[in-house]
Amino acid sequence: MAHMWHSLTGPWRALPARQRQILIWTFSIVLLLIFPLVDKMFKWGIVNDVTDVLVLVILALGLNIVVGYAGLLDLGYAAFFAIGAYTTGILTWPAHHLEWNFWIVIWGAVIVAALCGIVIGTPTLRLRGDYLAIVTLAFGEIVPVVIRNLGSVTIGVGPWRLLSDFNLTNGVQGLNPVGRPSIWGFKFSFDPTPWYYLILMIVALVIFANARLQDSRLGRAWMALREDETAADCMGVDPIRTKLLAFALGASFSGFAGAFYAAKLQAIFPELFKFNLSIMILCMVILGGMGNIKGVVIGGMLLQLFDRVILTQTTVFARSVGQALHISPLATIDLSLWRWFFFGLTMVVVMVLKPEGLFPSAARRAELHAAEEETPQPTERG
């Protein structure tokens, strides 16, 4: 078997690395471009699901800048997603009589999310490690609560009322409908295909930005901070400024995702942006391999594929087995309720067997397998 595999892949391995890369890239791009046609042909009906998965992939790529490159553990990243979505919602909700054009609003969402990254980052990025994680966790909890309570805003000093009972976010019910994009007279509506191509473009843009940032002066400064903050500071890297940029740029990507998601879903409410979402995005980054774009994209897709396809299919299968064998608990089982159990289990297994993720960056791999190639250290002296 192994021998057969070897001879089958022989011509492939004979190709130079560069050509193999080009082939893989062309193949992936063509596949992604014709995917809606294939979907229609085979009547899978999963374009909509894939579009949602790609939204999460964008979020994972944004978080990858913060966690993977700069090494800042952010447990409240969904807050920036919420801010992006609500910026879009507020600027396009008919009751506000603004109804701005989506193509302007999406950039507005990016800018607002980035500004919020700076606002939350400025006082907190002096903290290191665990403390930052706690603050971001709190921020992630605060944002949905604030949104819930902005359904009635009153601003005034004494008897003066600047705003009285102004409904900014429509509280728990949320904003519905949200403005949809249109391009050259073509309106995006319930057909998922145009949304799919739009998100594909955003994903391409985000991957491009991620790659360029990684291989730049700023990318190196992020990595240096992750490795040793004091040493980086002494080598001229301004830690506060550099971390703020990671926060702001990471947040700005979630602005894209938020705007797109709000417009596609047509309804946004605070419940969508809970802590679970932050953890899910973090899982995507960790599973794939922190700091590696390919890893984050593939890891994120695998996790979502597992969640949306494998769990539901297994449920159907388990139920039919249960019915056939007359085991009533199995016949009514719903494995998708167990998703967090399986996520947790996956994380534990990955951390034990492959702590650097499925597709690690070279640096992470080296870091986590240090024990095997330890360089001799001298004994310390005064």
Binding site: L213, S216, A224, D228, C234, V237, L249, A366, T375, G382
Partner: protein, 277 residues
């Protein structure tokens, strides 16, 4: 005007005075050493000059400009480079990347520059890489640019730290025990490298060192600290002959103890009421 002037600087850690009213001048173009027993305040002094600690009182001037109390990255931008007593490389980055991080504050590209990759950004990047390769070659790491820092042998890690500090384009370089943990041959090579940094690049050097062969071998000026205060300074010959220095290193107690023990043996008592020896 000296390149580095410390004016009555003190550092208190709670009730402990790690440094007390220290005055120190380092002339431009010199290789100077800071020596003293463990806990004398040498590394504390380095940390204050490089901005890791803020002096409790006093001034630190580099070329007449105050740098005491500046954040480390600001001090670096003003022309201060340093290495660390325990190597602090970015161990999971390549040697070349380590040096490039050192150049960070001399490069101008911004985050949007990184996204757009304009011609000027790419030119700057290419120039930086070229310069980094030169620096690696200068310290004897030519051809090792793609090796992860942690995979370099110990002696080369020390050299890489020097290359990284050189990349910050310093006027004054602080070396904290540059030969610690090296074998005799590596020590000799490291001394030669330090001399070349001064002679070929014109960078003033202040080093902390415990190895007296190194200190006496390359320093032109030595300052001796003990208990947070300066007890002697001068050329290697002057310092070597200074009785206070001998006392600080061997200890008054030990010397006196040896004398007492001899007297006891001569008197034939043999009782041991104090455990000096």
């Amino acid at each position: 005007m000296a390149l580095l002037e410390a004016r009555r600087i003190s550092k208190q850690f709670g009730g402990l005075a790690a440094l007390h009213d220290l005055d120190l001048d380092i002339e431009k173009g010199m290789i100077a050493s800071l020596i003293g027993p463990n806990g004398a305040g040498k590394t504390t002094f380095f940390n204050m000059v490089s901005g890791i600690y803020k002096p409790t009182s006093g001034q630190v001037l580099l070329e007449g400009k105050e740098i005491g109390g500046l954040r480390p990255n600001r001090a670096t931008a003003m022309g201060l480079g340093r290495t660390f007593q325990n190597i602090r490389l970015f161990s999971n980055m390549t040697a070349l990347e380590n040096v490039l991080v050192g150049m960070n504050c001399r490069l101008k590209s911004t985050w949007y520059g990184a996204l757009l990759r304009s011609r000027s950004v790419m030119q700057e990047e290419a120039k930086a890489r070229e310069r980094a390769q030169e620096l690696l070659a200068f310290v004897g790491l030519g051809g090792k640019g793609e090796t992860l820092a942690k995979n370099l042998p110990y002696g080369l890690q020390r050299r890489l730290e020097i290359a990284r500090a050189l990349a910050t384009h310093p006027k004054l370089m602080l070396l904290d025990e540059p030969t610690a943990g090296m074998n005799p041959q590596e020590t000799v090579d490291a001394m030669a490298l330090i001399k070349r940094v001064r002679d070929e690049l014109g960078i003033t050097i202040l080093l902390i060192e415990h190895d007296m062969k190194v200190v006496m071998g390359i320093s032109e000026y030595i300052t001796v600290l003990d208990y947070g205060a300066k007890i002697a300074e001068g050329t290697p010959e002057q310092v070597r002959a200074n009785p206070k220095v001998i006392e600080a290193y061997l200890g008054k107690g030990v010397a006196a103890g040896i004398r007492r023990a001899k007297q006891k043996v001569l008197a034939g008592t043999g009782s041991q009421e104090d455990g000096t020896i």
